[in-house]
Amino acid sequence: MIIMKTKELKKVLIALDYDPTAMKVAEAGYALAKTMKAEVVLLHIITEPMYYHSPDYSPIMGFTGTMDLGPLQIDNVEELKKTSLSFMDKYRDHLGDKTIKTVVEDGDFAETILKTAKHLHADIIVIGSHSHKWLENILVGSVTEKVLQHTSIPLFIVPTKKHK
């Protein structure tokens, strides 16, 4: 028997997008963090403004009605950041924990998430499996591959597809 380096898990970074299933990711990630008595940081990454403009994403996280965004100014990054932040705040309120931190960054999804994780000294990254784009990046993106080679943070992936 060897004595293992007890690496305590202290910070959980939960990446959320505007997909309606993101709530499931938020809840599962939060539950995980709580069992580990870890801090929680919610992260949203602003990638391409087009994403926000697509009709598929217009009901933001099932919070339709509670959030009146008005037409988004797609060329206004500051506006987008503000919107994203209040979106993250909604999540925090939903989880009912005031100690949750929220972060909004912009840039390439995979790269930014790993950078942020590093910056925050996150111990675990939580993400939903619906993030195809991210997965694609992880699996085939060359930039990501580079970033990945410099990270060793475990990923906790929450399945968000429907049960068969």
Binding site: A28, D93, G96, S129, L148, F156, P159
Partner: protein
């Protein structure tokens, strides 16, 4: 607004280990998270392709060289393979130093077997490693982690096992 969350209590963690030398890291990290969640641990090894067991790259079993004297595996001796796999899991268990750990050996397609085993024991989380040396290979051939991910209905905990810079 505080809503009542369905408290997803994590009770059982399935840790999939292969013969890759980095399996030790997966075992250790998976064990740590399971402990943090106060969960039961089951170690799983899947016998898929006998070729894996004869390749020279896999001779070093889990960093347990020396401790474990596995004779060259007979390519077609499935029983021997099963025994070697069981020994490997037993060694891993001893390494983790927890007698309550369960072990399981399965055969078949890796991803499928992992998902089946998870269902069988009602696992709450699956722990799996990704090996960077085989990263490109995995992308081209479809990695186990990826196919598990595409089909799983329970969370997957992926541990990167590449070497540090």
């Amino acid at each position: 607004m505080t809503i009542k969350m369905k408290t997803t209590e994590m009770k059982k963690v399935l840790i999939a280990l292969d013969y890759n030398p980095t399996a030790q890291k997966v075992a250790e990290e998976g064990f740590l998270i399971a402990k943090a969640m106060k969960a039961e641990v089951t170690l799983l090894h899947v016998i898929s392709d006998p070729i894996n067991y004869t390749s020279t790259g896999h001779v070093l079993i889990m960093g347990f060289t020396g401790k474990m004297d596995i004779p060259p595996v007979e390519k077609d001796g499935l029983d021997a393979l099963k025994k070697a796999s069981q020994d490997f899991l037993d060694q891993s268990k001893i390494h983790l130093g927890d007698n309550s750990i369960q072990t399981m050996v399965k055969e078949g397609d890796c991803a499928e077997a992992i998902l089946k085993a998870a269902k069988e024991i009602h696992a709450d989380t699956i722990v799996i490693g990704t090996h960077s040396q085989k990263w490109l290979e995995n992308v081209l051939m479809g990695s186990v982690a990826e196919s598990v991910l595409r089909q799983t209905t329970i969370p997957l905990y992926i541990i990167p096992t590449k070497k540090h810079k």
